[in-house]
């Protein structure tokens, strides 16, 4: 049964077996105990021809409410920001796309240079000294930050603001189980960190205080105040931040962050039902030798020419094994490349525009939506591109009814916080037009009648 993905023909197989000195491929499998052998073919659906498979995949894809066919006001960690056309064309170049981690730097300068550019851009946006080559996603990036703070401070507690994305919190919990790191929550009754509570909870046992800004509710946190609290207790401040916002919002590094992590999906990475995403990780220079994941550094070649290599690898699993700063090996380099091309394309002015437009449209939407009787903002806090609505009817039923009109109105918060059973988290990016926002408001008004 010839397959277009397998090179050897029967004749070539025979020829190669002859060279190998085996009568059949079976002869090469002798070491596999007979009783372990699968005595039947794998019970998988039969192979599909390309055209039939395409038809099947189209049918599957058609049963999803994607952001081309539906108007998307959803956020909570994944955003419908615009993706400029060059990105996919460039990342699809086989030399980028089908290369492995740049272990042979002389044959991988393309990848190494893009990562070096990426590290530079992320450091600049976050206001930190160094950034790594990427972690899986924002959540695992935060988990790595917690582990790193634990290792650096040799303390066993991490204090998380309630405004940190609850999905991230779950991942941190998973990662902290092994090392036995205890997590503590600081409440956010008003939608932002309760500073007094934070002062009480951050102690000499605290490895790090973690805040997110804009936080899960879209509200802007007082990062500087949090930094003070953390540093006063000798703890590190870890800030969760969405880099696409940092063309307009202050760099966490300038507000006292020791580690900045976040989800970089907004930087040109498709939503793809939640993954692959782009875990951003940046830190102060003093911490560089504790950073998880890969780092690319500039150096020179034998002739003195500039070149780039993976560096400080003694932190990594393939050298340090059980004592590595992290277990990460494969990361999300291609998503980092998307972000690099995105940031090059948008550039200094463009990223700012994206932020300004998102903020303007989000505030316009908030105004239009809260003009509907019974609809109000859940929290009286300054926000950026995302905010929480309190609805007079159960958000889940509202979502169901607007879905029929091809509107994805937001994320109901009940599953994340019982106290917010009446709340809907709404995100508005530069992609949303006034027309779409007005249509949303109109539709919401109707279903709430």
């Amino acid at each position: 049964m010839a397959s277009r993905y397998i090179a050897n023909t029967p004749a070539e197989q025979r020829e190669m077996l002859k060279t190998v000195g085996a009568a059949s491929i079976e002869d090469l499998l002798v070491k596999i105990p007979a009783k372990a052998r699968l005595s039947r073919p794998l019970a998988l659906p039969p192979a599909l021809a390309e055209s039939d498979l395409v038809r099947h995949m189209r049918a599957l894809a058609a049963r999803n409410a994607d952001a081309d066919r539906f108007v998307c006001f959803m956020g909570a960690g994944s955003y419908d920001h615009f993706v400029p056309s060059p990105i996919d064309h460039l990342i699809s170049r086989g030399e980028f796309f089908t290369a492995y981690t740049p272990y042979q730097p002389e044959a991988s300068q393309g990848t190494l240079r893009t990562i070096y550019e990426y590290q530079t851009m992320i450091a600049e946006l976050t206001g930190m000294d160094v950034a790594n080559a990427s972690i899986y996603d924002g959540a695992s990036s935060l988990a790595e930050a917690a582990l790193m703070a634990h290792a650096v401070t040799e303390r066993d507690e991490v204090v998380l603001a309630r405004g940190v994305n609850p999905l991230y919190r779950r991942v941190v919990t998973t990662y902290c189980d092994g090392p036995g790191i205890r997590l503590r929550d600081v409440p956010a009754p008003e939608g932002v960190l309760d500073l007094d509570a934070a002062r009480r909870l951050v102690t000499g046992k605290t490895a790090a205080l973690v805040v997110q800004s804009p936080n899960f509710y879209g509200a802007l946190e007082d990062v500087a105040a949090a930094a003070e609290i953390a540093h006063a207790a000798g703890a590190l401040l870890v800030v969760v931040s969405d880099p696409v916002n940092l063309g307009v919002l202050e760099a966490p590094g300038r507000l006292g962050a020791d580690i900045v992590v976040g989800e970089g999906q907004g930087l040109g990475v498709p939503m793809s039902f939640g993954g692959p995403n782009l875990g951003v990780f940046a830190a102060r220079a003093e911490l560089v030798r504790r950073i998880p994941g890969r780092l690319v550094g500039a150096t020179v070649d034998r002739d003195g020419a500039r070149g780039f290599v993976l560096t400080l690898q003694t932190r990594e699993q393939h050298i340090r094994r059980a004592k590595a700063t992290s277990n990460i090996c494969t990361n999300v380099a291609l998503c980092a490349l998307m972000a690099t091309i995105y940031l090059s394309t948008l550039g200094k002015q463009g990223l700012r525009r994206v932020g300004e437009l998102s903020a303007a449209k989000a505030h316009y939407a908030a105004e239009r939506l809260t003009a509907i009787p019974g609809v109000s903002l859940r929290f009286a806090q300054p926000f950026f591109k995302e905010f929480v609505l309190r609805l007079p009817k159960p958000p889940t039923s509202v979502v169901a009814r607007l879905a029929r009109r091809r509107i994805l109105p937001g994320v109901p918060l009940k599953t994340y916080d019982r106290a917010l059973a009446d709340s809907l988290l709404v995100a508005v990016t530069e992609q949303r037009t006034r027309e779409e926002i007005d249509a949303y408001a109109g539709a919401l008004a109707e279903v709430l009648k």
């Binding site: 049963r63 460039l90 946006l125 996603d137 039902f273 690319v296 150096t299 699993q317 437009l357 006034r434």
Partner: protein, 488 residues
């Protein structure tokens, strides 16, 4: 090097104040300036120092940078353990369908039935392939699959009130094995392998004490060999209440031939970016689903994709779950590619993938055995590990050989892995490469062996055809320069 002038720009060095590469609409809403909407203290004073380039600058710059890479599409890439096989273009087209690529992760299950069905079916297919009872698609890569697997073992012992603190791992294991295990809170005990790379059963029998939680092993092992006594191993472990974890990075060697579950493994992860053709992308993303036997199912990462009648859903009610590993459900973009691949191949197709991967590796080993030391006599499985110790004696190291290969138009094998082989050259040809390519590669390797005797200088000079020559690693580590600054 002679040859074309080398492109040596970074995008920042193309920047010109005021040049733009973007196009954004004018605000269509009553446009309050951002500083009227948001208190100043939250705002950035100056604009970030990002490049200011045209779209064309971007396209030409990254097109040129790409040409400084070797990739599977352009070069034979025999990087052992990494399974650098052809990444089908069809997979790419399918992953880009708006229904998948433009789907928000938090839509209602009703609004993601196509994606959930694909994920459910992929889980079922992977379970069948590995002989496991349940699969989680959430891990972002192999290492995270390992973490998930070990955490499930930990939760399992805990649930049974057992205190076990150690995990046994052969000294031939990939670095992520001990790293993930340590991260999961276990003490890692390294088990010495026999000279032939196999597990020392007597030593193992002694080692599996009551405080041992698990034994973690790669099958086929990192020497490309199948452990002939693997079933005894899993029995010995189970007899002592020790769970056995299979690192499935080499699963591409045994598809349809034997299954981790049938070998007695309790847990096994998959590298979809190896066995199942999702691209490596210069380092990632990948996907590392993890499969388990039924006794570990309650501990799977949450949520789990379930089927109820014709409806698919994310099941969050998993009280015993080890929790989440990523914010969302997994690297779905990669899952779509792997699903497309499995549906393309079918059961027989996957079997012939392994048959041909094994044949190609044995062919290469055979053609090179006269000129290089073979770490273990064959037959091997999907890859073979040679040693350059003979060449080393003449002053030519595995690294030298790797660099010389670059000049001859090939990427290099994995070097110095596994650690138990001196001057290791780990070669994985994969089933997608043709005999002509393997012959050309073997000829090059043999040429290098000759050059080692007759003209080692050309090897030590290598590479001379790449955009840069050998790079100063020490300097890079001593004076880390990790970000560009105007001074350069």
């Amino acid at each position: 090097m002679s040859g074309a002038p080398v492109y040596d720009k970074l995008v920042f060095e193309l920047s010109s104040p005021g040049r733009v590469g973007f196009s954004l609409p004018e605000a269509d809403v009553p446009g309050a300036a951002v500083d009227e909407l948001i208190p100043k203290k939250f705002l950035r004073g100056d604009a970030p120092r990002l490049p200011e380039v045209s779209e064309f600058d971007v396209v030409r710059h990254y097109s040129r940078l790409s040409r400084m890479n070797y990739g599977v599409d352009t070069h034979f890439y025999p990087l052992g353990s990494c399974t650098m096989k052809y990444n089908p273009k069809l997979n790419e087209d399918m992953a880009r369908l708006a229904g998948f690529a433009r789907l928000h992760p938090l839509v209602r299950d009703e609004d993601a039935q196509g994606a959930l069905e694909l994920m459910y079916d992929l889980g079922q297919m992977l379970a069948e392939i590995a002989g496991m009872d349940a699969v989680s698609l959430q891990p972002a890569a192999g290492a995270q699959g390992e973490l998930a697997g070990v955490l499930m073992i930990r939760a399992y012992h805990r649930a049974r009130g057992e205190k076990r603190t150690k995990v046994l791992i052969p000294d031939s294991a990939h670095g992520t094995n001990p790293a993930s295990t340590a991260l999961a809170g276990y003490e890692v005990v390294e088990v010495k392998s026999l000279p032939n790379g196999e597990v020392d059963l007597e030593a193992l029998a002694r080692a599996v004490a009551p405080d041992v939680a698990a034994f973690m092993i790669t099958v086929p092992n990192t020497l490309g060999m199948f452990e002939p006594r693997i079933m005894e191993i899993t029995e010995i472990c189970h007899a002592r209440g020790v769970q056995v974890y299979m690192d499935g990075a080499n699963l591409n060697a045994i598809l349809g031939i034997t299954r981790p579950g049938d070998l007695g493994f309790d847990v096994c992860h998959f590298n979809l970016h190896k066995t199942f053709t999702t691209p490596h992308g210069g380092g990632g993303p990948g996907a590392g689903p993890v499969g388990v036997r039924s006794h570990l199912e309650p501990f799977l990462p949450a949520p789990v994709v379930v089927k109820d009648g014709d409806a698919y859903a994310l099941d969050w009610k998993r009280p015993k779950s080890i929790g989440k590993l990523q914010a969302f459900w997994g690297n779905v973009g990669m899952l779509v590619r792997a699903y497309t691949y499995i549906r393309t191949m079918g059961g027989d197709g996957l079997r012939s993938v392994s048959d041909n991967a094994v044949l190609n590796a044995n062919y290469v080993m055979k053609r090179l055995e006269a000129d290089y030391d073979v770490s273990v006599p064959g037959p091997c499985m999907h890859e073979c590990v040679l040693s350059a110790r003979r060449q080393k004696r003449r002053g030519v190291t595995a690294t030298d050989i790797a660099k010389r290969l670059l000049d001859l138009g090939f990427y290099a094998p994995s070097t110095y892995f596994p650690l138990i082989v001196e001057e290791a050259l780990m070669i994985e040809p994969t089933e997608t490469e043709s005999k002509e390519t393997l012959d050309a590669f073997c000829d090059a390797m043999i040429q290098i062996a000759r050059e080692t005797e007759q003209d080692p200088a050309v090897i030590h000079e290598a590479p001379v055809t790449t955009p840069v020559r050998r790079l100063d690693q020490t300097r890079a580590a001593r004076e880390p320069n990790l970000t560009w600054s105007p001074k350069g």
